[in-house]
């Protein structure tokens, strides 16, 4: 018997993986050239990308930024590159970007009769809309990111009353008195509950502010204004336009539609037959018709539905209809969340002895809203995109303004640059929102 061993007795050192399966080459083999079909697809895609990028990049970056009309733009193009197509004329954006952002909102709002010249006034240009926007970011931030100090929520609470005052101007007493209505309600509830019992307290706490808002606010605010005047120059609604208008409509509709939508969803899920029928009818009606018909209602019919002589401006009417529209969609999203909760959650809440509102507030809603976050955000995005429809009823949102700019002889015939600019701004907002929703989903995902 020989002692020749055919089995290796010592371990070999580990070897590097072959060069073709790691690094850039390995990645390309795995992801781009994995088989014949994939290789063909990759090459075709690369050719496609090359042509698209080549055209798009030269169009975007070999462009004219300074010109006062399209003709001048073309002259510059011919002088520089020898041809007019394939190069963007961003001069139109350079010339009109303020209009695309703010519409005809005056940069330095002044009282009628007071004549402010260009660049005068104690505030920077477009101070009021800009401040509203910055405050909006501050007001929204603590809602979006829970790491921020909770004190910022004060801004959130104040914002709904501050924003209309900043944007439309007029007396501060109006929004203050409207806000006071909530205070009155709260006060009535606190004071009266020990006297006339919980239910009576709630009824009075709802009835008093409603009476206050319907009949008293106007005269009290006017009275206070005549005593102590705190007012800034008013701006008419028809001067609103551009992205400012889109954001205004979007923010108001989004802000109001979530609570209304939750209430509608609860109504639709409830056992009360009449309440349920009313909610289903409302939701299905709104969801069954296109937004444009609701905007027609806003532009031609809403004044007919209201008491004779009521005139309120088109932006407010559009806000109402867009809010109703968004709430119906929101209600369906929230209902989806409610329906997706396992029955055990409802039964668990019942077995703990919680009443309806307690179980909704503590157990059902937190989970249902969490499930419906993607839907809620995509409804937000949809509403924000749908604000462009107001251009059809003649409001000057960015698309409406692009027509107005084209109607000017200097920029007649310019399409792509305006559309690209508008599309870019919408993309930034909507893409941002969808990314935030993904972040929130990851953060709230408590499962394993």
């Amino acid at each position: 018997m020989s002692d020749v061993s055919f089995v290796r007795t010592e371990m070999l050192p580990e070897k590097e993986p072959p060069g073709s399966s790691v690094g850039v080459i390995g990645w390309m083999r795995a992801n781009l050239f994995d088989g014949v079909i994939n290789s063909i697809l990759t090459i075709l895609s690369l050719i496609f990308c090359y042509f698209v990028l080549e055209g798009l990049l030269s169009w975007t970056f070999q462009s004219v930024w300074n010109a006062s009309s399209l003709t001048e733009c073309r002259e510059v193009m011919v002088a520089t590159w020898g041809k007019t197509h394939g190069h963007a004329c961003w001069a139109v954006i350079n010339d009109r970007w303020l209009q695309l952002l703010y519409g005809f909102y005056p940069p330095y709002p002044a009282e009628a009769g007071v004549n402010f010249g260009e660049g005068t006034g104690s505030w920077p240009a477009y101070f009021r809309p800009n401040l509203s926007f910055v405050l909006l970011l501050i007001a929204v931030a603590p809602v979006l990111f829970d790491k921020l100090p909770r004190k910022l929520l004060i801004v959130t609470a104040v914002y709904p009353f501050l924003m209309p005052w900043l944007m439309w101007g007029g007396s501060l007493w109006g929004p203050l008195m409207v806000a006071a209505g909530f205070g009155i309600g709260l006060l009535a509830y606190r004071l009266l509950t020990p006297v006339i019992g919980g239910l009576g307290g709630i009824i009075v706490a709802i009835a008093l502010p409603v009476i206050w808002w319907l009949f008293l606010v106007g005269s009290v605010a006017a009275g206070l204004e005549s005593v102590v005047s705190i007012s800034i120059p008013e701006v008419e609604s028809r001067k609103f336009g551009g992205f400012m208008l889109s954001i205004l409509i979007g923010v108001v509709a989004i802000g109001c539609s979530l609570p209304i939508g939750i209430v509608l969803a609860l109504g639709r899920q409830s056992d009360l037959m009449i309440v349920k029928t009313l909610c289903v009818g409302f939701i299905e009606f709104i969801r069954g018709v296109p937004l444009i018909t609701l905007l027609f209602v806003a532009s031609v019919l809403l004044n007919i539905f209201l008491p004779p002589g009521t005139e309120f401006d088109i932006i407010l009417r559009v806000l109402i209809m867009v809010t109703l529209f968004a709430s119906a969609y929101m209600a369906e999203v929230v209902r989806g969340g409610l329906a997706a909760l396992p029955k055990g959650q409802y039964e668990g809440a019942d077995s703990l002895g919680l009443n309806y509102w307690q179980s909704q507030r503590l157990i059902i809603m937190p989970q249902a809203l969490k499930i419906s976050i993607p839907g809620i955000v995509s409804t937000f995005i949809g509403v924000f995109k749908d604000t462009t429809l107001v251009s059809i009823i003649g409001l000057l949102d960015p698309l409406g303004l692009s027509n107005a700019i084209r109607a000017d002889a200097a920029w007649n015939g310019i399409y792509w640059e305006l559309f690209a600019f508008i599309a870019f701004l919408f993309f930034v907002f909507c893409f941002g929102m969808s990314r935030y929703s993904m972040y929130l989903e990851r953060k709230l995902h408590k499962g394993h």
Partner: protein, 422 residues
């Protein structure tokens, strides 16, 4: 010693309407009902008062007056002397036309993009992601006007097709002309046509039905019926004997021959568009407005459908595929019998609601001048007659009918595929 007494007989007190949960729901509902009635009464009262002041008491007589405007893209015959009702009908048909065309293209593009987004090929997946994000995050109205601008600005005018060395030529073997006035495609013609049946006389709802089309449909339907019969017989034989007779040639013959013979008998040929004077004549003219709307709506909705398809496929857990493989199923069968039924349960409901969105978004046709129902009834008819209330109500009614029918289909499907819980 204990005595058994009956529980105290519950007597009804008024306060129980509020504090007793058995009766409280009644109270709440009564209050809600009364509130709703009051609101409705208030709105209707306001409306009546306002309309009387304006001198526009609601009536629908205007529908029978001559419309006086033209509809350039139409499916039925129409002239400007026809009534508003006929104009609205044509508008409705145009809405349905663009909706059906849009749904089909959107589904095809959407499924393709959704599957490609899951591709292992990195660059293909990224291109599809860019497409989806680009279309989803920009308003559809912008896409529609952009498509219209592209069609008008970048396509050749009809006169570019003229001359010895034209700047532009027709596509697809000289059958399709793509111009900035629209696309001209060949139209089917019959030299031995059987004529038309005129239905509903001279009324506003009249329409013609081509006997040729009916004949073709009947013959084709019979062929399909024959094919199912042949397949059923093949299956019976297979189950009885284990051998499946070859049905391929019979089926192909049944599919093509009878319809082909009928088409030949009717003298079927295509009418090609031709350049005559300043414009193309002959063929079917699809106007820019229709094409722009169709393209934009399809591409926009396809982005949403792609996400739905992707989500649906991802929603079927990998364990299902593995289990099917463990049972020895081939990949094709795994897809058909295991993955697809489960993915479709997730895919179909949101897909249908996207069809609904597409149909509703088609109302944006008004931005490019396509005469759909919003353009006719809610646009020109409303402006000409000044009957805002009636036209908007009818418009909403039309859309509601379409939407509710689609939702009914969806609810039926949802109930059929619902997972049964306790």
């Amino acid at each position: 010693m204990t005595t058994l007494t009956d529980p105290p007989k519950a007597s009804f007190r008024l306060s129980m309407l509020i504090y007793d949960t058995r009766y409280r729901s009644l109270t709440i509902q009564a209050v809600a009902m009364i509130g709703f009635m009051l609101l409705a009464a208030w709105l209707i009262n306001n409306t009546m008062t306002n309309l009387e002041t304006l001198g526009k008491t609601p009536q629908f007589g205007f529908l029978l007056e001559p419309a006086g405007y033209d509809i350039n893209q139409r499916l039925l015959d129409y002239n400007s002397q026809d009534t508003h009702m006929r104009a609205s009908l044509l508008g409705l048909l145009n809405t349905l036309l663009v909706a059906v065309m849009g749904c089909i293209t959107a589904t095809v593009i959407g499924v393709l993009v959704g599957v490609l987004r899951l591709s292992k090929n990195w660059i293909v997946a990224k291109i599809m992601t860019v497409y989806v994000e680009m279309f989803r995050n920009v308003p559809v109205l912008l896409w529609i006007v952009l498509a219209m601008a592209i069609l008008i600005e970048s396509l050749p005018a009809p006169r570019a097709f003229r001359g010895e060395n034209p700047e532009a030529t027709m596509n697809l073997f000289d059958t399709v002309a793509v111009t900035n006035r629209g696309i001209y495609v060949p139209e089917p013609l019959f030299s031995n046509s059987l004529g038309n049946i005129h239905l509903l006389g001279q009324s506003s709802l009249r329409f013609d039905v081509s006997v040729d089309l009916i004949a073709i449909l009947i013959v084709f339907g019979l062929s399909i019926f024959g094919i199912t019969k042949v397949n059923a017989r093949a299956k019976r034989i297979q189950e009885a004997t284990g051998d499946r007779p070859n049905t391929l040639w019979t089926n192909l013959g049944l599919f093509f021959v009878p319809t082909g013979i009928l088409l030949a008998a009717l003298g079927f040929h295509l009418g090609y568009p031709e350049l005559k004077g300043f414009n193309f004549k002959g063929g079917t003219h699809m106007r820019n407005s229709l094409i722009a709307l169709w393209l934009a709506l399809s591409l926009y909705t396809a982005a949403f459908i792609a996400e739905i398809v992707r989500g649906g496929i991802l929603a079927v857990s990998h364990g299902q595929t593995e289990a099917a493989n463990a049972l020895g199923m081939r990949p094709g069968r795994t897809m058909r019998l295991v993955i697809l039924p489960q993915a479709l349960r997730v895919i179909i409901p949101p897909m249908i609601s996207n069809y609904l969105n597409l149909t509703k978004n088609s109302s944006l046709a008004i931005a490019v001048g396509y005469m759909d129902i919003t353009g006719t009834l809610g646009g020109i008819t409303m402006n000409q007659t000044g009957r805002e209330l009636e036209t908007v109500l009818m418009l909403m009614l039309c859309y509601l009918t379409i939407s509710l029918s689609i939702s009914m289909v969806m609810n039926w499907y949802n109930n059929r595929v619902k997972l049964v819980e306790r």
